[in-house]
Symmetry: C2
Subunit: 326 residues, 2 copies
């Protein structure tokens, strides 16, 4: 089996590659070829016995999608995207990469023809939703995004569903919740604090909490995200029906509950490294975000997230800190 | 005020032009310039004292959108589209006109810049919805179209909302129900019988009913459709908020209720011209269509449809038959 990962250099991409190599395959089939593509050169993974190709490419460059699809990969994970903040700041770039790039991929697949019908797993986002919300967002809730990024993801979902319905490919759209704990350095994303209030204290550093601790949000670990994508690749069209875009499950909890979990696992001294510095701009942005989902379809289709925020903290300690707390 | 109508040669376009000329203006402002564009040359309207330009153009031709927008029309009605059946049969043409054409229009407006911010009224369709449905489709129901046309309209809605949110234009998306009674010759659309079972008998001709008379559907007259578009142009962003795409109200009734209305108004002899010829293909297509909407937002915003199917029959007799029944 030949697997292509677009956006392979990103955090979720790297977690997915690790997972696929550890599993040794996908859908009970061995993976003998991995093509890893991104705008920056993805790392060559260790411990994989098959053929690995590393490709540096921009999906929105004319001809690039056709070239990458010409080898007829069986499964395509499409994770490549300009993130929320940049897509809002650079309107043209966001549409070029997130909309035109995605469409170029789907069109390249369609143009291969000749019975070629790969499975395409598209990472969407809960940014497809826009306030106001009911207490829990049901699977039938409409998409009224309030960012360019969310708009581009919602359009990607619609295109994926139409190309699937027409039989050009076999798509699944996976709406990821906020990924927590995100490894690496703090970034300037408005959502960054959800991870940094866990990550920094565990590493011995101070963290800033810019919102009230009653703020509620839905999280899944990087491990769960990789699991969602791998599981999506195993679903059949008969299981999915025409509604192929799915809100993933996650842990809905308040910031106070996040901090309680950190305290339980790492002790009060570690949790004491969180400094409260209210930031009205961030508070206002976060107030427009979804808090809770009633992701029944995904649960019924076998997608599994963590069952407590404690698990999310433990996974971070396990995967990123070698089991050790500073 | 300068009004541009894209798709001016179509049935709804012609009704809208008549309405605007009869009203003498829009939003209490006189219209002094009308630009009428379509892929076939639109008719030059009678009884209008201002300047009329008639333009034959394809919105998806490079440069065409920039050219038509250069005169900075104050209000743009975007009605141009490849219809459902053709968009399904010719995949590339449907995406080129319905998606690329719409996007080209929005981009052309954005590129004018310099404070130009026209009102853009986009005709969407209930084809943005896909079965299965609740008994009445609420305003918050998700869009899972089951046709290319519905997909392209749903994407148009998302783009319109994003360009509006970013301040490039002032958009309103108007999801039209099935327009009934459609004037003119019978066509091969699967929905054609909803109109032809009224239109043909009133004209002295036989009509074929291919489905059971328990089939329920939602209708609005061509007059109501023109009214929806004119009313949409009067709404402010403050009234609309961010959710600018609206399901229009309509009359939800069964085919039996349609026939009863015809009988009440034109007598049993006229209604006797309907011949029942079940067609399983049409019955199956129609079974996937929405039956009823709970279009609360549109009603609260002042959109008005007919209040009975009798009114719809009377409007057809009045507008198309000069008040006479054959």
């Amino acid at each position: 089996m030949h697997v292509l990962i677009l956006g392979a250099a990103g955090m979720v991409g790297r977690k997915l590659i690790d997972r696929l190599i550890r599993d040794g395959g996908l859908n009970a089939q061995a993976i003998d070829r991995l093509t890893l593509a991104d705008v920056v050169s993805p790392e060559r993974p260790k411990g994989f016995s098959g053929v690995v190709e590393v490709v540096t490419m921009d999906l929105s460059t004319p001809g690039a999608a056709d070239k990458i699809v010409a080898a007829r990969p069986d499964v395509i994970f499409h994770l490549a995207a300009i993130v929320s903040g940049e897509a809002e700041a650079d309107f043209e770039k966001g549409y070029r990469i997130n909309l035109d790039g995605t469409r170029a991929l789907l069109e390249a697949i369609r143009r291969v023809g000749d019975g070629y019908k790969p499975r395409v797993i598209f990472t969407s986002s809960i940014a497809v939703f826009g306030a106001p919300f009911p207490e829990a967002i049901p699977d039938e809730f409409h998409l009224t995004p309030l960012t360019c990024y969310g708009t581009q993801k919602a359009i990607g979902e619609l295109l994926l569903a139409d190309y699937t319905r027409r039989g050009f490919l076999d798509g699944v759209g996976v709406r990821l919740p906020t990924i927590c704990v995100r490894p690496g350095k703090p970034n300037k994303a408005a959502s960054g604090f959800f991870s940094s209030i866990i990550r920094e204290p565990l590493a011995g550093d101070d963290a800033v909490l810019p919102v009230h601790d009653t703020v509620r949000h839905t999280h899944a670990s990087p491990r769960a995200a990789a699991g969602f994508l791998a599981h999506a690749a195993s679903l059949t069209h008969a299981q999915l029906g025409d509604r192929i875009n799915l809100t993933m499950p996650g842990i809905s909890c308040t910031v106070a509950e996040q901090i309680d979990a950190l305290k339980r696992i790492a002790g009060p001294k570690v949790a004491g490294r969180i400094r409260r510095e209210p930031d009205e701009t961030i508070a206002r942005i976060v107030a427009g975000w979804p808090q809770r989902f009633d992701a029944r379809r995904a649960a019924a289709l076998g997608f599994r997230a963590e069952t407590s925020f404690d698990d999310i903290v433990r996974i971070h300690i396990d995967e990123e800190l070698g089991g050790k707390i500073a």
